[in-house]
Subunit: 267 residues, 2 copies
Amino acid sequence: MLTVTSVNVNGIRAAAKKGFVPWLAGSDADVVCLQEVRAEEAQIPDEARVPEGWHTVFAPAAAKGRAGVAVYTRREPERVRVGFGSEEFDTSGRYLEVDLPGVTVASLYLPSGEAGTEKQDEKYRFMGEFLTYLEGLRERAAAEGREVVVCGDWNICHREADLKNWKTNRKNAGFLPEERAWLGEVYDRAGYVDVVRALHPDTEGPYSWWSYRGRAFDNDAGWRIDLQVATPGLAARAVKAFVERAETHPERWSDHAPVTVVYEAGV
Amino acid sequence: MLTVTSVNVNGIRAAAKKGFVPWLAGSDADVVCLQEVRAEEAQIPDEARVPEGWHTVFAPAAAKGRAGVAVYTRREPERVRVGFGSEEFDTSGRYLEVDLPGVTVASLYLPSGEAGTEKQDEKYRFMGEFLTYLEGLRERAAAEGREVVVCGDWNICHREADLKNWKTNRKNAGFLPEERAWLGEVYDRAGYVDVVRALHPDTEGPYSWWSYRGRAFDNDAGWRIDLQVATPGLAARAVKAFVERAETHPERWSDHAPVTVVYEAGV
DNA sequence: CCTTCCAAG
DNA sequence: CTTGTAAGG
């Protein structure tokens, strides 16, 4: 049994003031992947940086207050790798991998982009390099007999069922045709599986992000952009998946909600 | 009878959320001079911008979110003047004058400075130009038979009794020998009177500003930098002066407290 | 320590 | 609308 949670904390310092720490203390997960930590390790309060019972590794961005990913594990990782071999992105606080027995777990924070701007070009550059990396990762993992799951904020919805207002967002970053096609490549060409969608093929959402603007959260006008993208062998072991909307964290300590998957032990 | 209050609000938008509006509603003053408004008029909520029963005039700074002075009066002013004829400072949101029958009331926000930096040079430039202006103002007012009071945050303490920690602040902006000497010139050469000190010659303070850092307020480690500097004829009419420390505005909607003087009617 | 700004999301 | 940063105080 392996329980993995992914959550974009939107600033761990702000989240720590609003309920992240008790949420983590109550979590049953074996691994928690964080995105948008937005702090250097030294700036994070102890309760969040070295919580009782967890090993934590951080990959902050070179730019202060930006991006930053982390992985919290109950057992110490066998190995830790920062970045994915990209000159442009390895110091941008967007990718971190840890090896646990038989499985590699990654925390990814893909650039959010903005249609028609240089930020979108950057997102496309990241996507290009990262897809190549994912293919190699799957091959290496297969050769070693290990599974992989890339958790994180992918900042892309694949299908209409993945966001409430898909019609009005067809020209917005996160649901552009090129982005959707790319995510299709991650599944069809690189051979990964969107675990939550595989378990819930016919549901709207479940959304994991709601804008702070307007009444997005109250209207459940959300996006399913926080994904667990796994190798088929691991995906086949997924027995349960859920998103913690307001019910379980009513304090709303982030604009994203935690996405959890329970993976069975053997095959 | 003329009651005049001066207060540095440290951002009128923040102050308005913390109690400035009810404080104003409960004020007995005829004139209230504000400093550090830190907003353009359009950004100020109505309750603070056009409060019931007041006429308000604003002199914002060209730089957004900086400085800014205002004068609130119960009767409409006869005339309003922004700045004091300085090319460098007239758009800096630091000086505003209104003429009321027989008396000119000004709201001043003197640069705070920082010892040994360009900011201190700017403060000295302001002080130089402003002293010249004050001399001319007193002469013109005398010729017209009018009195003058320049209310505001002067950002200088004249004497040791004007700040709690005078020993440790002798090399800090606000209590530098040159600044203290300059305030002496305002009194001795330009002929103005520090009204609150004239009424309370032998008291420590009363302080009107306490840093937000550390426990300055709780320890009453304050500075008396918010002054009413008047022509001798008006100063002679002052019958009462007080600073509203925590007692009367426990919400602490600014790091400064209002300084009020009651001036008798005739001479 | 607090209030603005701005960029980013 | 919220998070950081930075400057200013």
